[in-house]
């Protein structure tokens, strides 16, 4: 059974490119446009990995991560946070919330794919 990945980012094009790359690599992909949307989409879903942007409207990535870590079903699901060099402060906040996997924006699809493969193979 293919592994399912949730990608949370407010950019449609980023989500689509990531989706294409991951789907081609053999993963199933669920897309969400922000933290709130992601929490909704997670309901009743088995997700093996989450990729989340930090800076998003409605609910940012850190808040989303905290919410996910409180949910017994996703408490230990690996989460890759997408960040920028400019986001050092956010990074600290994220680390406090338990985020360890960071991918720096901008990245090429292959770079993200490598990061994902380190955590789960398709």
């Amino acid at each position: 059974m293919a592994k399912t990945i949730l990608i949370v980012d407010d950019s449609i094009s980023l989500r689509q490119v990531v989706s294409i790359a991951l789907t081609n690599a053999g993963y199933e992909v669920i897309e969400a446009c922000d933290g709130k949307d992601a929490l909704t989409k997670l309901t009743g879903q088995k997700v093996h990995l989450m990729i989340s942007d930090v800076n998003m409207p409605n609910m940012d990535g850190i808040t989303f991560l905290k919410a996910v870590r409180l949910n017994p079903s996703y408490k230990f699901t690996p989460v890759i946070m997408l960040t920028t060099e400019a986001g050092e402060e956010k990074k600290k906040e994220g680390q406090a919330a338990g985020a360890r996997a960071w991918v720096v924006k901008p990245f090429r699809p292959e770079q993200l794919l490598v990061a994902v493969s380190k955590l789960i193979l398709p």
Partner: protein
């Protein structure tokens, strides 16, 4: 889904983000709480950079990176957003927009765009100084070339990893790294180090106690291998021994390994640390349980810990409730759907065809006198009418976005001219047809530029006239009897009639000494050849004469009124139809032909007469009001005699009324407007054509033009904007 399509999405998305950025930038100076706007700007650039990176659009990435860094400093209040920086960021916005446009055209970077980036980057860099971020491009860690394997007693990399205790809790599974290493090369040897796994009660099942020693036969370089563990590097100990290492190095390496030093105390420390974390977790769980009614529901922290945080029902309930709220909000947010414009246009076209086909069916039903068929077609027609209204409303957009663009233009132009101008926007929520909005933007731009350039006086003049230093310009949109009015008003010097007359004579538009009314003089500025045609580009609106503005408005079946008071200001009023596609028409007949009038403009119908003084005056006395009239039969040079009982349709456009004399009144009719060919453009009084249910073509009358003709029966063939009627009684 292919990448090219996604690139289009990226371009659209980038445009939207840039628009949001511009709006935020322009609003920022008046914003009392600019935090959210600054965040929005930062996010816009951040998102563009992120997506551009995915497509390998390096020039955009490089440029937006620096802009983002500056924004970040603004966001963290390290630097303040002064007007100079706002202007610079606006320039950056423009440059990004042009980079996006190039991308759309398939050009990644031109020497000009590179130069543009460089110039702006140089201006941005001072804002980053003192932060150590002077580098304008994101630095990527270059892969370090390693000694390639050339054979020797050990051709493998040796890896020694001791995973941190929290690795599992953070969602990372050491197994996945081992599996991934397997994709980089061959794992020749592996040994799990499980010595740290405690006996008995000290064991915490969620703590990681694992260590791994492995030999990897791979072509990958050191960086790649090290990077496998990048997500656990901070918590874990990772040592790498390259191939061809000497025995001594190995021994030194082994000595440095934690197990050789027997760091048992470390394990206990780690254990304690874990308990703290678990306690935090449990506290959070307890808090969630307490949320329901504020009372702690019996379970103590210890119990929670022991019971392993097995999903307590109230937490589940709270989570479900929260999720439902999210869903509800989500549903609200989804109420707006984006549709491609050409799909809408096609829909409206089809509805147009449907209207014609419906009318045709109805006409046939009338002919065959079959009551049941008539009833059916009536219902169909009613539905078609509703579909028509709905389809047309889909194309309606608020003029607010167009208005907002003027904040930028006014800002730029007024700065350029060294004038201080305040822009007021009203009626941004007024809706009008998308096509009209698009075509309106250029003429409006020109009018606004004109108002700033020629309307609002220089500071010295304003002071001399006792006006406030800051000039005022307002854009106003509202509905008025079946049309939409857009006003551009300034408190400037007004039109200088003497100057206009002089210029008109110079340019040979009027004769020296011609006697003209005030309205006639002001309308001269719309005459072709009046403006000094410095003609730069049509796009920017610069240097394009007001005659082009009027032409554009004419094409939209609209009209322009001008109200100007010397030294007090000018108001320019554009009157536009609600829609361009389908209208409710009123059909009239002359001889065998039929014509259509927009129903919105029809006031009433009556029999011709009584005339004021004589029929030749072309004036009727309408309940004490003077109403000029026009015989369509004469205008269109119809052969044959009029019937004995002629009818008058009273039409009104703006403030002006006139009567149109026809043979027959034929009732309301849904009219799908078809544009006229170029050949008919010159025919006066005709604005378009339509197809009747019978398949015949009927002309749609251009009421504003006809009213104008009626009001000035002697004015010959020159077109003029509508002017006010003389006083009502004589």
């Amino acid at each position: 889904m292919d990448l090219d399509k996604v690139k289009q999405t990226f371009i659209l998305e980038a445009r939207e983000l840039l628009a949001a950025m511009e709006e935020a930038l322009l609003g920022i100076e008046e914003d009392l709480n600019p935090g959210e706007s600054i965040n929005a700007m930062f996010r816009a650039v951040h998102t563009i950079k992120g997506s551009a990176g995915l497509f390998g659009l390096d020039p955009i990435v490089r440029f937006s990176h620096t802009v983002e860094s500056v924004m970040d400093r603004v966001r963290s209040k390290q630097i303040s957003l002064d007007p100079t920086l706002v202007s610079l960021l606006l320039e950056c916005h423009d440059h990004l927009a042009s980079l996006i446009t190039s991308t759309q055209e398939g050009v990644e970077e031109t020497p000009e765009s590179h130069e543009g980036s460089q110039r702006l980057l140089n201006q941005l860099i001072p804002y980053l100084e003192g932060n150590g971020v002077i580098e304008s491009t994101p630095v990527r860690v270059a892969a370090q070339p390693s000694g390639a394997s050339e054979g020797g007693w050990n051709e493998c990399w040796h890896l020694s990893i001791r995973f941190g205790p929290d690795v599992l809790r953070n969602g990372m599974d050491p197994l996945s790294f081992v599996r991934y290493l397997g994709t980089l090369g061959k794992i020749v040897h592996l040994a799990s180090v499980v010595e740290k796994l405690p006996r008995g009660e000290d064991y915490d099942p969620e703590t990681c106690y694992l260590g791994i020693e492995l030999d990897l036969d791979t072509d990958a370089d050191r960086q790649t291998i090290e990077d496998v563990f990048e997500f656990v590097r901070e918590d874990s100990e990772i040592r790498l021994l390259p191939p061809h290492s000497k025995v001594e190095e190995y021994i030194a390496f082994i000595r440095a390994m934690p197990e050789d030093e027997r760091f048992l105390g470390e394990i206990l420390v780690a254990g304690g640390c874990i308990t703290t974390k678990d306690l935090e977790e449990a506290l959070r769980t307890q808090k969630a349980e307490t949320l329901e009614d504020g009372v702690i529901h019996g379970r103590l922290i210890g119990t929670i810990l022991i019971e392993d945080q097995a999903v307590p029902p109230p937490v589940v309930a709270a989570a479900l409730d929260k999720q439902k709220k999210f869903q509800d909000r989500q549903a609200q947010e989804m109420k707006v759907v984006k549709v491609q414009a050409d799909k809408l246009d096609r829909l409206v076209d089809l509805v147009g065809e449907l209207v014609i086909a419906g009318a045709s069916a109805n006409a046939m039903a009338v002919q065959v006198h079959e009551p049941r068929l008539l009833e059916a077609t009536t219902i169909v027609n009613k539905l078609v009418e509703e579909i028509r209204d709905n389809a047309l409303s889909l194309r309606m957009v608020q003029i607010g976005d167009t208005f907002n663009r003027f904040r930028r233009i006014v800002r730029d132009v007024s700065q350029e001219m060294g004038k201080s101008i305040e822009l007021e926007l009203h009626g941004g929520d007024t809706e009008l047809d998308k096509t009209i909005v698009e075509k309106l933007s250029d003429p409006l731009m020109h009018i606004v530029r004109n108002a700033i350039d020629h309307g609002i006086e220089s500071l010295e003049v304003r002071r001399a006239r006792g006006k406030p230093d800051t000039g005022s310009l307002s854009l106003n949109a509202f509905h008025d009897s079946g049309s939409i009015v857009i006003e551009v008003a300034d408190d400037g010097g007004g039109l200088n009639k003497a100057k206009i007359l002089k210029k008109a004579v110079e340019r040979g538009i009027i004769r020296e000494g011609a006697e003209l009314s005030d309205a006639e003089i002001t309308s001269l500025i719309f005459e072709p050849g009046f403006s000094t045609a410095e003609a730069i580009t049509k796009l920017s609106g610069r240097g394009v004469g007001m005659d082009v503005v009027r032409q554009n408005i004419d094409e939209l079946r609209g009209s322009i009124e001008l109200e100007s008071y010397e030294e007090a200001g000018t108001t320019l009023r554009i009157r536009l139809p609600l829609t361009l596609a389908i209208i409710d028409g009123f059909r009239v007949g002359i001889g065998t032909a039929s014509y259509v009038l927009p129903l919105d403009l029809v006031i009433e119908c009556l029999d011709l007469g009584p005339f004021l003084e004589s029929e030749e005056n072309h004036l009727i006395n309408l309940r004490g009001e003077v109403l000029p009239f026009l015989r369509l039969r004469e205008i269109f040079r119809m052969p044959g005699e009029p019937p004995t009982r002629e009818r008058v349709v009273v039409v009104q456009y703006g403030e002006t009324r006139a009567g149109l004399v026809v043979d027959r009144l034929m009732g309301e009719f849904q009219t799908v407007i078809k544009p006229l060919g170029n050949l008919f453009k010159q025919v006066r009084g005709v604005g378009g054509s339509t197809i009747l249910g019978s398949g015949e073509v009927a002309l749609i009358l251009d009421v504003p033009q006809l009213i104008q003709l009626a009001s000035e029966p002697s004015s010959g063939l020159r077109r003029r904007p509508a002017t006010h009627l003389p006083p009502t009684h004589s």
